[in-house]
């Protein structure tokens, strides 16, 4: 199968010779949706879906920069929301474990 495909592509490049395959791919426009890899769709701090920007960013029209942060406990929130939260209480609002940033979305 793999061999056949290679042959197929060779043939396709040389337009003079007839390709073996009846159908060959010329262009593929493929579409995917990305979403944050989170367990809970809603940010427990601002109550907005994590796929949308947090309320603060929405009102300041900074939708693009509003990313998600994951803690060691695997809970996730808007990074903006969490950075305000930890100033008052350095614990995860959901499980009360000490908040340690595992990774920040990009």
């Amino acid at each position: 199968m793999a061999e056949e495909m290679d042959v197929d592509r060779e043939a396709d490049k040389e337009t003079s010779s007839k390709p073996e395959k009846m159908f060959t791919l010329k262009k593929w426009n493929l579409v995917a949706m990305w979403s944050w890899d989170v367990e809970c769709d809603t940010c427990a701090i601002c109550r907005v879906q994590v796929m949308d920007a947090c309320l603060r960013c929405q009102s300041e029209n900074k939708q693009d920069d509003c990313v998600v942060v994951w803690g060691d406990c695997n809970h996730s929130f808007h990074n903006c929301c969490m950075s305000l939260w930890v100033k008052q209480n350095n614990r995860c609002p959901l499980c009360q474990q000490e908040w340690v940033v595992q990774r920040i979305g990009k």
Partner: protein, 780 residues
């Protein structure tokens, strides 16, 4: 001694003989020289200064005597006339002279007045200086009133009224005659509290009565003889006449409402009394667009209390009736053709607006009626309806009809914004104007959420398939939607979609750069769009499919690339949205086909066995497409409109999805070719996507269901918002506020509101008051 002598000469008795002739001359309006005039001032002054105690009262008495004497003479002159009009004429002549002199004679006696009043109230001598309050003037006018006017005022008044009546019949006369009588009334009042009281109770009253009687007699007759339409002209003209006449003959000074009172009386007898008859003509006039006459009627009715309301009702009824009639008459074309439909709606709107402008001068009350009625037309469901299912627990789906207008508006927008024959035909300005027209109609649409949903679906399609006619216009449209007050979260998502497309373009070039030297040619073969699920996704849109090996192999590379660029993100492939170009080689030639990924999945199944026939069953196994989706895809390959030779052939006669069975056999048409001008082409390009992509079988139904779901949530959300703010609220107030909050999305039905209130009560968001079941209380 000299002083005494001088003092002696300044006694009243010394001075009066030289003063009296001048005073008499003034009263008779005879010429007075400058010296005589000035001497009079001096004499009054001297007497008042030197003969402080006795002088002033004596002058006053003497003056009074002379004035009374003069008036007596005038009286005898006036009263010699027995004929009423001659009496009036003589009176006015005498009065005219006398009244003028009232302004002059008091002047030399200023000093006298100061002295006389100074004795009475010395604290405020200044005030008495003003002409109006002048003692001498008052003396003159009071004397005139007592001696002449009060005796003959009734006779004068009726003569004056007779003259006015004659004028109404078209005679002309000396206007001064009536004005003089009025002046007498106004100026001769002895009532200091309310100077106009006597005038009002006599002259004004008589004038109003006369006017009322006159028109009571004539208006009805005119109406009977000439019909309503002519009568309106008559009434309008008479009202104007009476108003200008009133300004001439009635008192117009500050604080006097005579003219207004007259107008009110005239409106009552000329218009209000015939309101029914006049308004009866309104509806037919609106129907026949008799704008001139309507304008006249409007100006007449606007003077009466509540006269406009029946006209507003007539206008509304006309717009609703005419609008619906037109829509129903054109139902056949407009139900299938969004363009025609929107144009018809706009045409109606413009027609009604013209009517309101020409007949009612864009009066705000009529504009409101136009809006209200037009809204009814736009949201009417008799021409066609959109079925919105209401899911009830366990009972099954019930439908509630709604106007299809928002859907058709969205379709029309799509036609303007997409590369279509319509958008190619139009100039950029035309497109812009038409889009603005859509927004205008949209303003009247009750359920804007339906428009939003369809508009977004169309936009998605245009962006994915890259079929926008003009990107700048697309982005403008987003801002216009924002400007007309579409909900911000909706508009933000649209804006985000445009951003995503730009981000994807950058991502794509990076990907190509990275794979530039890859020998598999991936950089050229694929084009990626990776979009924000929050802005784009609709729940129903993921359809699973088994990709052909040729495609499947690319996926890990893209995912790998994306993982390097971003972290914390997961990708979901939406093959329903993806598409591409494949080269199809057969016995006839080589053709480039633009196809959806599902079409590719089906066609690639033949690559291993180009000339074999494959059963539906085996195609389903190969592609793993859901039944409905596979059938649709097959049909698109069997019957693509407007081509003579199809890509695929089936063994049975297949007309619709139901004709396909597990055993139906399909094969690739080796005779397929493009035909141009009757000649077989060896090369060519064909787009097989058409309207196929992005509208799955069930998505339409789900769209409508989704709309309903969203409405339920919005209603709940809005109720909680109101309750949180108000804490306690009556049912009626809650409904009103709810409609206000939701109005730029949809109009919640009573039933929907009721259900959601019940739900919220059940879930302890709120409760009913124990004593009043129509009062709700918020529960935190």
């Amino acid at each position: 001694m000299a002083m005494l002598g001088q003092q002696g000469q300044c006694k009243f008795e010394d001075k009066w003989p030289s003063m009296q002739p001048t005073v008499l001359k003034l009263l008779r309006q005879e010429p007075v020289t400058r010296d005589q005039w000035q001497d009079l001032f001096w004499a009054v002054h001297s007497v008042c200064m030197w003969d402080e105690k006795d002088g002033p009262p004596k002058i006053y008495d003497a003056l009074q005597r002379d004035i009374l004497e003069f008036i007596k003479q005038a009286q005898s002159r006036v009263l010699t006339h027995k004929d009423e009009s001659a009496l009036l004429r003589a009176y006015i002549a005498e009065w005219g002279k006398f009244f003028t002199q009232c302004n002059y004679l008091p002047k030399p006696f200023n000093q006298l007045e100061a002295n006389l009043l100074g004795k009475l109230h010395s604290s405020m001598p200044k005030k008495t200086q003003s002409g109006e309050e002048s003692l001498v003037r008052k003396l003159m006018l009071d004397s005139w009133n007592q001696s002449i006017f009060s005796n003959i005022k009734q006779r004068l008044q009726s003569s004056a009224m007779k003259l006015v009546r004659d004028e109404r019949y078209g005679d002309t006369f000396e206007t001064q005659l009536v004005i003089g009588v009025r002046e007498s009334y106004v100026n001769l009042s002895s009532d200091t509290e309310d100077k106009l009281k006597i005038y009002r109770e006599n002259f004004e009253k008589a004038y109003l009565q006369a006017a009322e009687e006159f028109y009571k007699q004539n208006a009805h007759e005119y109406l009977t003889n000439n019909g309503v339409q002519n009568y309106m002209k008559y009434a309008d003209q008479k009202l104007k006449e009476e108003e200008s006449r009133a300004k001439r003959y009635l008192e117009t000074g500050y604080g006097c409402q005579s003219v207004a009172a007259l107008t009110e009386t005239c409106v009552r007898v000329l218009v209000t009394d015939f309101k029914e008859a006049i308004l009866h003509e309104c509806a037919p006039m609106i129907k026949n667009k008799e704008t001139e006459k309507l304008r006249l009627m409007f100006s007449l009715m606007d003077r009466t209390v509540d006269g406009i309301s029946p006209m507003l009702a007539d206008l509304e009824a006309h717009i609703v009736h005419q609008g619906l009639a037109d829509m129903i008459a054109a139902a056949e074309t407009i139900t299938t053709d969004s363009e025609k439909y929107v144009e018809q709606l706009l045409d109606l709107f413009n027609r009604f607006s013209t009517l309101v402008r020409e007949a009612f001068g864009d009066d705000p009350r009529f504009l409101t009626s136009r809006d209200k009625a037009y809204k009814t037309v736009v949201n009417d469901t008799s021409v066609f309806k959109l079925e919105i299912p209401i899911k009830k627990q366990g009972i099954g789906a019930k439908t509630q009809p709604e106007s299809k207008c928002p859907e058709l508006l969205a379709n029309y927008c799509d036609m303007l914004l997409r590369k279509t024959p319509l958008s190619k035909k139009l100039t950029s300005e035309d497109v812009e104007k038409k889009l603005k027209d859509v927004l205008l109609v949209l303003k009247y649409v009750q359920n804007k959420d339906v428009f939003m949903r369809y508009h977004k679906a169309h936009l998605t399609r245009r962006l994915i398939l890259d079929t926008s006619a003009d990107n700048e216009k697309e982005e403008n449209m987003v801002e216009w939607l924002r400007e007309v007050g579409m909900p911000a979260d909706f508009v933000n998502k649209l804006a985000r979609m445009f951003q995503d497309i730009k981000v994807s373009e950058d991502l794509n070039s990076e990907f190509k750069e990275e794979h530039r030297n890859n020998n598999e040619g991936i950089a050229d073969a694929i084009n990626i769009k990776i979009l924000n699920a929050g802005a784009w996704a609709r729940t129903s849109e993921r359809v699973s499919v088994t990709l052909p090996m040729e495609l499947e192999d690319y996926i890990p590379q893209v995912e790998e690339f994306y993982r390097h660029k971003h972290s914390g993100r997961k990708l979901q492939w939406h093959h329903l949205m993806s598409n591409g170009i494949i080269t199809f080689c057969n016995d006839m030639g080589r053709y480039d086909l633009e196809v959806t990924t599902f079409q590719m999945a089906v066609l690639f199944a033949w690559n291993q066995r180009p000339r074999e026939k494959l059963s539906y069953e085996s195609l389903r196994l190969a592609t793993e497409l859901p039944d409905a989706e596979l059938r649709r895809t097959l049909l698109s390959l069997l019957f693509f409109p407007k081509i003579k030779r199809q890509v695929m052939v089936a063994d049975a006669e297949v007309k619709g999805p139901k004709d396909i069975h597990d055993g139906t056999m399909f094969w690739v048409n080796q005779e397929f070719s493009l035909i141009k001008n009757g000649k077989v082409q060896k090369r060519g390009k064909l787009n097989l996507i058409g309207r196929l992509q992005l509208s799955t079988e069930k998505s339409k139904e789900e769209d409508n269901e989704g709309i309903m779901q969203l409405r339920i949530l919005r209603v709940q959300e809005a109720i909680v918002k109101i309750m949180k703010m108000r804490k306690k609220i009556t049912n009626a107030a809650l409904q009103t506020e709810l409609v206000e909050i939701l109005k730029n999305m949809f109009l919640p039905s009573k039933k929907l509101i009721k259900e959601q209130i019940e739900w919220l009560i059940e879930h302890k968001y709120m409760r009913r008051d124990e004593d009043n079941i129509n009062l709700f209380i918020y529960m935190a």
